[in-house]
Subunit: 186 residues, 2 copies
């Protein structure tokens, strides 16, 4: 275990500012100088503590989806629970929106996104779909619908998608996700 450093506060401030900037501006437009300004420190500190911009991004994009255990839930409600959980997670802060934004423009961001979904959504699906060998495919289908809603609602902001309530979205998307998870392959 490493002992606390005096610069921990600075490191944390940088990381927080970086997350916000990456989230709202994407990788290219989130400049180190702007991040440093937000964190009220000198740009060179960012370099000292995170090496370079890519290192900063790697450090800033460690994300926990915090998915619930689905095994203990009534099987026919899994879809709705999952959709609701993602919506809640998405509206809590801008981290996931940022990840999406960066994943689209940046190769490293896309890789990070692949890893997050494979490691965190994959296991959840493995327990509930008919043929475990098909779990990755089911997970990808679920991801396509959930990321698609996130894209239209939080990034592109298509008006009808923005105006829907979370309950309505759950009611519409829940059965879709449910089917992707538990239905027999078509």
């Amino acid at each position: 275990m490493t002992t606390a450093r005096r610069s921990d506060a600075t490191r944390a401030a940088i990381l927080e500012a970086a997350r916000e900037r990456f989230a709202s501006d994407g990788y290219e437009r989130a400049t180190i100088r702007a991040i440093a300004r937000d964190a009220d420190i000198d740009p060179s500190m960012v370099m000292r503590y995170y090496g370079n911009k890519e290192g900063l991004f790697a450090a800033a994009s460690e994300i926990e989806l915090g998915l619930p255990e689905l095994g203990s839930l009534p099987a026919q409600h899994i879809g709705a629970v999952l959709v609701g959980h993602f919506l809640e997670r998405w509206e809590r802060d801008e981290v996931l929106t940022g990840m999406l934004r960066v994943g689209v423009t940046n190769e490293a961001g896309a890789a990070r996104m692949q890893a997050i979904f494979a490691q965190q959504l994959g296991p959840v699906t493995r327990g509930v779909c008919p043929d475990p060998a098909e779990a990755p495919r089911r997970a990808a289908l679920v991801a396509s619908q959930i990321l698609g809603m996130a894209l239209t609602r939080y990034v592109l902001r298509l008006p009808p998608a923005v105006e829907m309530s979370t309950d309505e979205i759950v009611a519409w998307l829940g059965p879709t996700v449910q089917r992707y998870l538990t239905a027999e392959a078509p």
Copy 2:
């Protein structure tokens, strides 16, 4: 009608190079200099013919989805036809992938995307969903699923999404889109 100019070939070369660059690199990283290099002309020509970078983007992102008339189709196959059409359109060239990439990072790109879907997908849904007043919402739901699949398959390239055949995708997503279009509100 405007008569042909000697510079039409140059204009077209710029536009084509711009579309490819915007598609593969996104708005920020697609530099005017790189576009000009691809088109084998001087960067200043881009400025002369398209004013500035935003003008070039606007000119390069006029997109025709070319959606079919759904009125004449068997009502229960609309979903599958729509999904298949989008997949085909998406794989034909990189224009839509580029639009997606730019729409995520750039305000003007997002606006353009809103317009395209409102003008081209909106009318299609209006004819087939139970309550015409709900058409925009239905269109947004359809867009969420179709754009979500495009995102995971063509931009993020999640392996399971890439490996699925177009037929499989149509079989999985078709019923979803069908339900978003024609089912009673949940």
